[in-house]
């Protein structure tokens, strides 16, 4: 599988490069969280674990954490702020009033 890197790879010398333009690494280095102006925040008191926010995130910036409640396996959506671009789709699509709210992104 492609390797993760800390930073974007810019080759120093030809001899370090593969023999053609072939990509060997992931885009994990690119912390798209820096794009945000507005930050979505989940209020877990109101969240019903419907997973609609996770379903509609274009940026794979919401991940699932499994937990048990009343003997049932449930999922908890967790926003990955390193990558969340602040598009606001999760906030728009969330069916529960106040389960996701938005804040101004600091800085």
């Amino acid at each position: 599988m492609p390797e993760k890197t800390e930073k974007q790879i810019v080759y120093e010398r030809v001899k370090d490069m593969p023999p053609l333009a072939v990509s060997l690494y992931t885009m994990d280095y690119n912390k798209t969280g820096s794009w945000r102006n507005i930050r979505p925040v989940i209020n877990y008191d109101k969240c019903i674990s419907c997973m609609i926010c996770w379903k509609y995130c274009p940026d794979v910036a919401i991940y699932l954490e499994k937990f048990e409640k009343d003997g049932k396996e449930k999922y908890k959506p967790i926003i990955d702020y390193e990558y969340c671009k602040g598009c606001g789709i999760c906030w728009t699509e969330c069916p529960v009033e106040g389960a996701i709210y938005t804040e101004e992104e600091a800085g």
Partner: protein, 384 residues
């Protein structure tokens, strides 16, 4: 096994012997027999390949590139307008480093419509990074296809084997078909290091800025330079196995030559007859046939031309606004040499006009009366 066949069939047999696995091709006069025979070979199972009956030459090359990128050996053939249509994708094959092998029948470009031979179509692609081999007979066609795969796969660059429309494509000659077992020995299966493979996922050809593109191009030029030695080495290897040796160029009676006729493909065949006639008259003339045009055999050309007093390049092509193309390249490569003979550039035979022994003889006689060329083009045979 010897068989009488037209040049087009020599291409098909070359692809078959090389065990091409995916063919994407579109018919165009005078290439149609190539794809027709390959279709029959695929249908009968004589050739175990998938033939994609694409809807244009542009798609033909794209399909070959896609297949080659998965690690399959690919073949296509075209001519003139079709090659011109492929131009964008020819560049793509090079950048993608896919060793596609293609037969190109040299046919003049329209308008006006024409089907007769001229080299401008393939030479107009000389900047793309495709290797180019100009064949002078059908034996060389079939042999060069096989060698082309070996060189192409060694340096990861595509190669075209070029032959004249009708003069070779539709002319029957005796061809000694190499034995399949020997070809298998000579040409192992294709196995690239990087290929489209879900078990090892990569992106190919992703966006590259000024901080990386230059190096990727440098790599391609280096591969072309490596190819110079490869064509010689593989041509020798081929000769050891099959009895017919090949190289970047072919020289004929150059050892003590004072003048050199330089040409390519079937024109060179005609020029060979002229050299013989002149030699009988005591003239010390030799022939340099440029076989591999890309990569350009600069060192070989320089060492041969440095030793003579005069050179005549006969081009069956033209770069408008400049001159004949072989002439341009030969002249340019000599510029920094200490011994620079005057080089005369002749353009003959455009659009399939016949170039005879007499024509080349006249060219020689005219040039011998001159010390220096008066212009970059000596027109031969055009009705001025």
């Amino acid at each position: 096994m010897k068989k009488v066949m037209i040049g087009n069939y020599a291409l098909s047999y070359g692809a078959k012997l090389s065990r091409a696995q995916v063919i994407g091709a579109y018919p165009i006069t005078p290439q149609t027999e190539v794809v027709e025979l390959l279709s029959e070979m695929c249908a009968s199972g004589e050739l175990d390949a998938k033939f994609i009956k694409v809807e244009s030459e542009h798609s033909a090359m794209a399909a070959c590139i896609g297949a080659s990128a998965t690690g399959a050996r690919t073949f296509t053939a075209t001519s003139s307008q079709g090659l011109a249509l492929m131009h964008e994708v020819l560049h793509w094959a090079v950048g993608a480093r896919t060793p596609v092998v293609m037969g190109n029948i040299n046919r003049a470009l329209g308008p006006p419509w024409t089907i007769w031979t001229e080299q401008t179509d393939s030479l107009a692609q000389r900047d793309t990074g495709w290797m180019q081999v100009y064949a002078q007979n059908n034996q060389e066609v079939i042999d060069s296809v096989i060698q082309a795969y070996k060189v192409a796969e060694a340096v990861q660059l595509p190669a075209m084997v070029v032959l004249a429309a009708f003069v070779l494509s539709h002319t029957s000659e005796t061809v000694d078909i190499p034995e399949q077992e020997k070809v298998d020995e000579f040409l192992p299966s294709y196995d690239p290091e990087y290929k489209i493979d879900p078990d090892n996922p990569h992106a190919f050809g992703g966006l590259t800025g000024p901080d990386g593109y230059f190096e990727l191009r440098y790599q391609i030029q280096k591969a072309m330079e490596d190819a110079l030695a490869k064509w010689e080495e593989i041509g020798r290897e081929f000769g050891d196995l099959f009895g017919r040796h090949y190289g970047l160029v072919e020289t004929y009676k150059v050892e003590d030559a004072r003048e050199l006729i330089i040409s390519s493909a079937t024109l060179a065949s005609t020029a060979r007859g002229v050299v013989d006639e002149l030699r009988e008259k005591g003239k010390k003339v030799g022939l340099l046939r440029i076989r591999v045009f890309r990569p350009f055999p600069a060192e070989t050309v320089r060492s041969l031309l440095s030793a003579v007093d005069k050179a005549i390049v006969v081009d069956r092509n033209i770069s408008f606004g400049a001159s004949g193309i072989f002439y341009q390249e030969v002249k340019a490569t000599m510029y920094n040499e200490k011994n620079k003979p005057p080089i005369f550039g002749v353009i003959a035979g455009l659009g399939g006009r016949d170039v005879t022994v007499k024509d080349i003889m006249n060219i020689y006689e005219d040039v011998m009366k001159q010390d220096e060329p008066k212009s970059d083009i000596i027109w031969k045979g055009v009705k001025i």
